[in-house]
């Protein structure tokens, strides 16, 4: 029942007023109240024990295992999921942290679950067979229509997906509209058209110029040559110079790669815009799957499948390949501070390359990998953010901020437009060198981060003044591999891809793109290689 929708405006109006009234009081006090919250991140202490060679030598009897997976991020979990799906049980996954999930980990409080990192998965391409297989198993693909998969509408990101704060007003979509010169708009349209051409383009080998997983991309040398220059240079050479377009593309590069366009390979830059050909019925191909806890949902479901095989708080080190074709791995238990030896017929090093290089210095080729540091904050607020113009979306971005904005954790689950929620705020520290940025991450106190995050949020949503209940800050020192120019031919990457049993690598570092699809693909490929090595029968999903 209910008439007169213009009155919608009223409630937001009176909230705006309330904050306008309280703001001067807050200023008068001249000191911001301290905000509850925690400062978290990957366990540096444990990581540095490995780096500095302080892990004690193993003792006790040697344990035997068919396959050992070292690392419980998405690649390691995917490998374990693949083993389990093939009916293979003689494996253990060791994870250094207390929780598996890596970048896709989640947090939770009284208001909602929320992501600590990755928060969505685009509807996969046709070539991502293994991933689609898993999504079907997880009830995310619910059927088939006209030969194409049907995705569960409750798990596809609900409308409104994105909004942008542009010149003081929220608008739908992420590219600014209004007040843009014809010339700039023409450049944007031309860029869009060129990306559509690349999306359809096949290389000389008949493969898509850009595929997802990227391993299925064409190896046409003319296309691979794009890796020699930066995305920024490619844009300039091709006449994409409009400030507003470059700002949008910079946002995209930082969003997916945590890096500035100057530090991103043109091949990777084009991959971002040209590789997505999501395959789904009902026209859902360009949509995303998302959950309150982000990709933590996928982590939890994979974890459930392999329960009993996962051992957290254990670091692997001192990998040694033996003459009989098995491999010995020292395993350190961080809780008891003791180490033991596990002997496996195959080892999957599902860890970032900078860790693998220390775990297995004899096997992992050095160099050529840099990592982008990130800060992710989960901000608990008493009420949903509003704003002038377009209403609250899942992803909310401001052109005036160096952060990537925030996603709304409760976007998918409820129909309550007002009450408390959690906003996940993202900032890649791409302006500094990774080393300088990691120094900031290690030294900046919680209160400073909270001040910065609060100011950034209030600049976007002054209506949140007085509504912030907690700001929990999470630091990722090595959040993402950076696809720098030349990354395709980086020796460490090529060596990892060429690895053969008993030691296999599995990580999105091998794709140079820190994406769920890439990690999943690398995990599945390694698992299948290990299964083949052990003569375990399976039907390949690759």
């Amino acid at each position: 029942m209910k008439a007169e929708p213009t009155r919608r405006a009223m409630l937001s109006g009176s909230i705006g007023l309330a904050s306008a009234l309280t703001a001067p009081l807050a200023l008068a006090g001249c000191s911001e109240p301290s905000i509850p919250g925690t400062l978290g991140g990957a366990d540096w202490r444990r990581g540095h024990l490995l780096r500095d060679g302080h892990l004690p030598a193993p003792d006790g009897p040697v344990e035997d295992r068919g396959i050992v997976i070292a690392g419980g991020g998405v690649a390691g979990l995917a490998a374990a999921w693949r083993l389990k799906a093939a009916g293979y049980d003689d494996f253990t996954l060791f994870e250094m942290e207390d929780y598996v999930g890596g970048n896709a980990r989640q947090g939770r409080n009284a208001v909602s679950a929320y992501p600590l990192g990755a928060h969505y998965l685009p509807v996969p391409n046709r070539e991502a067979r293994a991933l689609r297989h898993m999504l079907e198993e997880f009830g995310m693909i619910v059927g088939e229509e006209d030969g194409a998969p049907v995705y569960d509408p409750f798990q596809l990101c609900a409308d409104l997906e994105e909004r942008l704060l542009w010149r003081g007003r929220w608008q739908e979509g992420l590219f600014p509209q209004g007040g843009i010169s014809e010339e700039d708009l023409a450049q944007y349209r031309r860029f869009d058209e060129e990306m559509a051409v690349y999306r359809a383009l096949l290389g000389s080998d008949g493969l898509h110029a850009f595929a997802s997983p990227m391993a299925y991309s064409s190896q046409d040398p003319a296309l691979l040559a794009l890796d020699r220059i930066s995305f920024a240079d490619w844009l300039t050479h091709n006449g994409y110079t409009a400030g507003v377009l470059r700002a949008y593309l910079r946002y995209c590069c930082r969003d997916d790669y945590g890096s500035e366009p100057e530090n991103v390979s043109a091949w990777a830059g084009l991959h971002y815009f040209s590789a997505r050909r999501g395959w789904a019925a009902r026209g859902d191909g360009s949509r995303e799957l998302t959950w309150p806890e982000g990709n933590g949902r996928l982590v939890r479901l994979m974890g459930q499948r392999i329960a009993g095989h996962v051992v957290p708080a254990h670091s692997a080190f001192n990998l040694a390949v033996r003459d009989d074709g098995t491999a010995d791995l020292a395993i350190h238990n961080h809780r008891t501070s003791r180490s033991r030896t596990v002997r496996a017929r195959a080892v999957i090093l599902a860890m970032p390359h900078f860790v693998a290089a220390r775990t297995a210095p004899a096997v992992a080729a050095r160099g050529g990998m840099t990592y982008a540091p990130w800060v992710v904050a989960n901000v608990t607020v008493d009420r949903h953010p509003g704003g002038k113009g377009s209403p609250l979306a899942w992803d909310n971005v401001s052109t005036a901020s160096d952060s990537l904005g925030y996603v709304v954790a409760t976007h998918q689950n409820g129909s309550d437009p007002t009450g408390p929620t959690v906003l996940t705020w993202y900032l890649p520290l791409s302006r500094e060198t990774p080393q300088a940025a990691r120094k900031i991450l290690m030294t900046r106190p919680l209160a400073d981060w909270q001040r910065q995050i609060r100011a950034d949020l209030l600049a976007m949503n002054p209506d949140l003044d007085g509504a912030i209940r907690a700001i929990d800050v999470w630091r990722w020192g090595h959040a993402m591999i950076s696809p720098r120019p030349g990354f395709l031919s980086a020796p460490a990457r090529l060596a990892a891809i060429a690895s053969r049993p008993p030691v296999l690598f599995a990580h999105s570092d091998m794709s140079g793109l820190s994406l769920f699809e890439e990690a999943h693909h690398r995990g599945v490929v390694a698992a299948e290689a290990a299964l083949a090595h052990l003569d375990h029968a399976f039907e390949s999903l690759i």
Binding site: K2, A3, L11, G16, L17, P153, D159
Partner: protein, 519 residues
């Protein structure tokens, strides 16, 4: 008692008289203006108080009492003004202009956000009263050299009382109906500023007036801005917007719940959207409930989604065949209000306390996904799809879950907004229910406080035309019920998209259609 000396006044009488100069004329006009303004502010505050707090006799008495008492304090305080009466008078005028000019707008805006409105109200009334109380004593002292005492008292009090008459006639006959309370405040604030500015300009030859003039102009500018933006302020201010006395207002975690009363008509508003008027809610609720119950063989188990006011439940509980109602509403405070407030519980015949009813305070969007059926009758009575979050409750995915809960021979209905104002939105509901695999039949009823309102019946099988209605109804007969299914051309079915979680086409069309309608 005649012997009591009155030294000040006699001194004034003794002084040589000067002809009334331009200043005296300005000052006498000022008496008229300030008297009018003073009474206007008093009337504004009283009216506002009775409007916002109800019980007009009490509000008028206490506000006027406070105001007059404050004037007394002001008069008493005037003795402490020892020199420069004119300067003080000008500053008092500027202060009255600021406080009085903004009082109506300020009170309206503050009402929903302050915890104790009475404190704000009486503080403001007291402040304005005190300042107004200073005016006349100061004016008398300023003018004492220009008139004989006899003349002076006569002049000042005459203008004072004439001003009062002007104000008391203007206020109900012209100002409230034509300007509204917020604009009235600003206009009279500007009159106070005008007095101050006129005096300052007149005095500029004799003294430095720059700072005072600047402040007066700033206040004036703020009043002009307020006047220009009065429409916007009105919309910002919740209470001004209801246009009728508010008897209950509170914010729950989910929404702003406001009850207003005009005579015997009680109205419920959620976030400013009218939910019902006691005058005609029976039309709405009979139309919501009986087309369903009249088409179900044996409606033992019933589900109501939304409807925390218990009025739909009241109607359903009239049917003795109904053994149990499950009612799902997001906001516990709504249900508590309509269960525990005697007057409101009477409206729904204590339906929310019925042993035949179980209340779940949950988000229906989540609740339906884990609920188990079957229900013989389902009533969906959500707020209109004004926002994306509410639009989720009208999607194909949501209806698929509801259809899962509906018994094979069950019937459900959905409140579907106005087919006259928003025909595309109205028929989007039917298209969407059909996409979810249900058969539909649309119908509409005239509910005066909403206008022409629409509903959609849905079932797993084609919906029967035949209906069995009880006799005790106030609105529906079998004949009028049949007529509800007939749609004239301007509301006739038209092709629409399916409303899905990922396109929210309903929220978009709803915004467009109601936007056009309301202009």
């Amino acid at each position: 008692m005649a012997e009591k000396p009155v030294p000040d006044v006699s001194a004034a009488v003794d002084e040589p008289l000067r002809p009334p100069a331009a200043l005296a004329v300005i000052l006498l006009v000022s008496v008229l203006v300030v008297a009018t303004c003073g009474l206007i502010y008093e009337l504004l505050a009283s009216t506002l108080a009775s409007y916002l707090l109800g019980d007009s006799v009490t509000q008028f008495s206490t506000v006027i009492g406070t105001y007059l008492f404050a004037m007394g304090i002001g008069s008493w305080l005037s003795r402490h003004v020892r020199r420069d009466e004119l300067g003080v008078f000008v500053r008092v005028e500027i202060m009255i202009a600021a406080l009085g000019g903004w009082c109506a707008a300020g009170l309206f805006l503050l009402f929903p956000v302050v915890s104790d409105f009475r404190i704000v109200l009486y503080a403001l009334v007291f402040a304005i009263g005190t300042l107004v109380g200073l005016e006349i004593p100061l004016l008398i002292r300023i003018l004492r050299h220009r008139f004989a005492f006899r003349e002076l008292v006569s002049n000042v009090l005459t203008y004072d009382y004439v001003g009062a008459l002007i104000a008391s006639l203007l206020f109900p006959l012209v100002l409230v109906p034509w300007l509204g309370m917020i604009r009235t405040g600003f206009v009279f604030g500007l009159a106070n500023v005008a007095v101050a500015v006129a005096l300052l300009i007149h005095l500029r030859a004799q003294r430095r007036v720059g700072a005072d003039l600047a402040i007066a102009l700033v206040v004036g500018a703020s009043l002009v801005a307020g006047l220009a933006g009065a429409e916007k302020l009105q919309r910002l201010s919740e209470v001004a917007f209801y246009g009728e006395p508010v008897v209950h207002a509170r914010s729950s975690r989910y929404q702003r719940i406001v009850l207003t009363r005009q005579g015997s008509d009680l109205r419920l508003w959620l976030n400013g959207n009218l939910q019902f008027s006691t005058r005609d809610e029976y039309r709405y609720h009979e139309a919501l409930v009986w087309p369903v119950l009249g088409r179900v063989e044996n409606p033992t188990r019933v589900l109501v989604l939304g409807g925390g006011d218990g009025l739909a439940a009241r109607e359903i509980l009239r049917d003795p065949r109904v053994r149990h109602i499950t009612l799902v509403d997001l906001d516990p405070e709504m249900a508590a209000l309509f269960r525990d407030t005697p007057e409101l519980a009477r409206l729904n015949h204590h339906a929310l306390s019925s042993p035949r009813l179980t209340l779940h305070n949950a988000d229906a969007f989540q609740w339906v996904r884990q609920a188990q059926g079957p229900y013989d009758a389902i009533f969906i009575d959500f707020p209109d799809p004004t926002e994306f979050s509410l639009g989720k409750l009208y999607t194909e995915s949501f209806y698929r879950e509801v259809a899962r809960l509906l018994a094979p021979a069950g019937v459900m209905t959905v409140q579907s907004t106005s087919p006259l104002v928003a025909p595309r939105s109205y028929w989007t509901v039917a298209t969407t229910l059909e996409a979810a695999g249900l058969a539909t039949r649309g119908y509409h009823a005239y509910v005066p406080s909403f206008g022409e309102w629409g509903f959609t019946l849905a079932a797993h099988r084609p919906v029967a035309a035949a209906v069995r209605l009880p006799r005790h109804l106030r609105f529906l007969t079998p004949t009028t019920e049949r007529a509800m299914f007939d749609f004239p051309i301007d509301m006739a079915r038209r092709p629409t998209p399916v409303n899905r979680l990922d396109n929210q086409s309903l929220v978009r069309s709803f915004g467009e259609e109601w936007g056009e309608y309301e202009g």
